[in-house]
């Protein structure tokens, strides 16, 4: 792409190639961007990935189906619960396992709580990238901690939850957990109001974010972008609605859509999504059946969890996908009839959303690149796998 230099042609200028990363405070891990600058403007940007590659898919093919669950926690380490959920769906499809009623509810509750955790953290980090000295991030983390406490009570771990299983969840939640969850969920909109009062109308935030890093509808669809990023560009595509997996069709919720597709829309769509998640959570926490009426895991699922080697799904393939907080998270499994998958592939939303980075950044300033990257919402564990 040819860009005219803004400096008068009589002065000879040079372009500067800068390595943003892999050691850089705001590349969200070990991500590297080779940026060519003309002054402060980006003329070329080449993303380099792979610094965190750890053979996730190969490991999945060498392990039983169940043994992959703890590894999926480490994909997108902000959203362990929804990663588990995706793999569980794929295995259920492959083995024809039906989940128990209570298990389904618990999984949806966990997945939506994960969405809250992820979106609060992302907005906090986005503001950090914008130069706010950690204050929004710490406000966001204060709320996030409460939800992580819930995760810890249910699964024993705050981030590496390893909780969802085919057929339900590993263990029922402890007594009183649902009440605690209700309290936290009901208090969440108040936090969102406070957060929005500080950020949404903030003049600096608006000036920095509006009409920066615009992603057109067409490009977003052609590049198979998913998640809040796609919806910020105005495409109505949410797998919870499209696939209606698990028990999502039972809940009433809306899909917020942006109009411009810039950083500001991506920020605000996430805020609105959190409000909708609270909506779903409130419904789910009300309707969840009692543990005496339905176990947390269906008998078939329990058998599979207790003896993973005995689970030999018929030859075939299955693709289980969920609307993870970052986009479409899919697990593709091919079975050859043995107790290990023949092929195990992860469709990682962070990785695919990252492909349009250069198109969004060209012509903007260095400072914009950082917030555009922040607004994509990547986690390197998932990008590199």
């Amino acid at each position: 792409m040819e860009l005219k230099t803004s400096i008068s042609p009589t002065i000879e200028t040079q372009q500067l190639e800068v390595n943003l990363g892999p050691q850089h405070p705001s590349t969200h891990g070990v991500f590297r961007m080779i940026a060519t600058l003309d002054g402060e403007r980006i003329v070329k940007l080449k993303p380099v990935m792979g610094y965190l590659h750890r053979n996730h898919e190969q490991i999945g093919e060498r392990a039983t189906y169940i043994a992959s669950f703890p590894f999926t926690d480490r994909l997108d380490y902000f959203c362990a619960m929804s990663n588990n959920f995706g793999l569980a769906l794929a295995i259920e499809k492959l083995g024809g396992i039906q989940a128990s009623e209570r298990g389904e509810y618990l999984r949806v509750i966990m997945a939506e709580l994960t969405r809250l955790v992820n979106h609060t953290a992302v907005i906090g980090f986005l503001l950090n990238d914008m130069g706010a000295f950690g204050t929004p991030l710490l406000y966001a983390f204060r709320e996030r901690e409460k939800i992580l406490d819930l995760f810890e009570a249910a699964s024993g771990s705050r981030m590496m939850c390893n909780y969802v299983r085919p057929g339900g969840v590993r263990e029922d939640v402890p007594e009183g957990w649902l009440e605690r969850a209700r309290e936290i969920v009901n208090a969440f909109p108040r936090f969102l109001d406070e957060f929005e009062a500080l950020l949404t109308e903030n003049e600096i935030v608006q000036q920095r974010c509006q009409h920066v890093g615009v992603l057109s509808k067409e490009l977003a669809m052609n590049a198979s972008i998913t998640g809040p990023m796609l919806r910020a560009s105005g495409v109505n595509y949410d797998i919870r609605k499209v696939d209606g997996y698990s028990i999502y069709p039972r809940f009433t919720f809306k899909i917020p859509l942006g109009t411009v597709g810039d950083v500001y829309d991506r920020y605000y769509v996430r805020i609105l999504e959190m409000r909708e998640s609270v909506n779903i959570l409130q419904q789910a926490l009300k309707e969840i059946p009692d543990s005496s009426a339905s176990p947390a895991i269906s008998p078939k699922g329990l058998a599979l969890v207790k003896a993973p080697r005995t689970f030999r799904p018929p030859r075939g393939e299955a693709y289980g996908r969920i609307e993870a907080p970052k986009g479409e998270l899919g697990f593709y499994l091919v079975s050859d009839g043995s107790s290990q998958p023949y092929r195990y592939h992860v469709r990682a939303p962070s990785f695919i959303n990252l492909t349009v980075l250069e198109d969004m950044c060209l012509g903007y300033k260095v400072a914009d690149v950082i917030i555009i990257l922040g607004s994509i919402d990547i986690v390197m564990g998932e990008v590199d796998r």
Binding site: G131, Q207, K241, L257, A367
Partner: protein, 420 residues
């Protein structure tokens, strides 16, 4: 003049009396230099502590609380750590300039204190061109930053240094323009003269003073690279900007320069606009009496609380009536209030982008600074009600016009569709 007010002046006179008459001027100079050089690191160290504590409070944290009570020894421990850290110079760097740059940045920051009136008769050097001296010395810092960035042989440093030079040069213009109004009204370039001209009314309480003071303070924040104008060391973009490649004591020197300059900006804003070491025109005991009445009338407070509050305020009024607060306490109190504002801004705002930052300087602050000179002229030329009204009108109209001209496409509220 109370003895407390002139405590330091008398103390220095007493110390000087030990020297023979011929050596006294030299001893005087040495004493002042010694005091400044000793005070500057202490101010810097405790500024870091104040900043960390205040920001921690804003972020639901505690801040430093491990070393000493309330973490009061934390700055000293940090200083020790900086001293014993390894000094790393990048390969291919210009070693001499790499060493010289932080020194060149600290020296002017300390020199700035020479023309600062800390209190009545408390000024190290009362230059008759004190204000020019302030601007001349404070702009040396940009050379140091560019030297440091260039000598580091790092691309981030170069980018930071280029941003910094552009920013400092741009913001010096509105800063100087805002002070021109002060020179016009005070009729002197000496900082002592400017403070004395505010004995009856602080310049901040005039229409042009409000605008000038804000322009000066904002430009000052930009010149010392603080949030929301911390482009040159934008952590999330340029790692640490011009001091990316510095470590150990050299890094500490950069930090010291930055904090001393922040202090100086606050102190000079106080000197030029907020009355320097003057107490408010209203005697403080009347304020205490007023507070006593308010507390006494507060029906929502419990009776014992009201009684205690009234007694306390009456006591304060009696104390302040008998012994006015020393001028140097006023000076430091006002300066630290401004420093709190600085920290508050840092804890609150995201950073502007470089083009927005330049736009603010050249499209808004510069024309407003020029109009401010006119406003100050109107205020000084016409008698009281007419002059004040005319100058306020000129400023409000022009500020409104500037906003309209600069913002052809105002930020529109977004609409979001909710699909099923």
């Amino acid at each position: 003049m109370s003895s407390l007010d002139q405590l330091f002046v008398n103390l220095s006179g007493w110390l000087l009396s030990f020297f023979p008459a011929g050596a006294r001027p030299w001893a005087d100079i040495a004493l002042k230099i010694g005091v400044l050089v000793a005070i500057a690191p202490a101010i810097m160290m405790y500024l870091t502590w104040i900043e960390r504590k205040i920001i921690a409070r804003m972020q639901n944290r505690f801040g430093p609380d491990r070393v000493g009570i309330y973490g009061l020894l934390q700055p000293i421990s940090d200083g020790l750590k900086m001293l014993i850290k390894e000094d790393i110079v990048p390969r291919g760097a210009d070693r001499l300039l790499h060493l010289a740059a932080p020194i060149l940045s600290v020296v002017p920051a300390i020199l700035l204190f020479a023309v600062l009136p800390f209190g009545r008769n408390m000024i190290p050097a009362d230059l008759n061109v004190g204000l020019l001296y302030f601007f001349a010395v404070s702009s040396i810092g940009s050379y140091a930053i560019f030297m440091g960035g260039w000598a580091s042989r790092s691309k981030f440093s170069i980018l930071g240094a280029m941003r910094s030079v552009a920013q400092i040069i741009s913001y010096e213009v509105p800063a100087i323009l805002s002070v021109v109004a002060v020179i016009m009204v005070a009729g002197t370039l000496s900082t002592v003269g400017i403070v004395e001209a505010q004995a009856e009314r602080w310049f901040f309480f005039t229409p042009w003073g409000v605008v000038g003071g804000l322009i000066f303070f904002l430009s000052g924040i930009a010149e010392v690279n603080r949030t929301p104008f911390d482009m040159p060391e934008a952590e999330s973009e340029l790692v640490a900007g011009f001091h990316t490649e510095y470590s150990g004591m050299k890094f500490a020197l950069w930090y010291m320069a930055e904090f001393l300059e922040s202090f100086a900006v606050c102190a000079f804003t106080v000197t030029f606009f907020l009355g320097g070491w003057h107490a408010p025109a209203v005697p403080f005991w009347t304020l205490a009496l007023l507070l006593a009445v308010i507390v006494g009338a507060g029906t929502r407070l419990a009776i014992p609380v009201r009684g205690a509050g009234v007694l306390g305020m009456l006591g304060a009024a009696a104390l302040w009536g008998a012994q006015p607060i020393p001028s140097w306490i006023w000076f430091f109190a006002k300066t630290y209030v401004l420093i709190f504002v600085l920290v508050w801004l840092r804890g609150t705002f995201p950073r502007l982008r470089i083009d927005q930052l330049m736009g603010l300087a050249w499209k808004f602050l510069l024309p407003l600074g020029l109009i401010n000179i006119l406003a100050a002229g109107l205020w000084a030329w016409f008698p009281f009600p007419v002059g004040t009204a005319a100058s306020a009108l000129a400023l409000i109209v022009s500020a409104w016009l500037l906003v309209r001209i600069n913002n052809p496409a105002p930020l529109q509220p977004r609409t979001y569709v909710f699909a099923d």
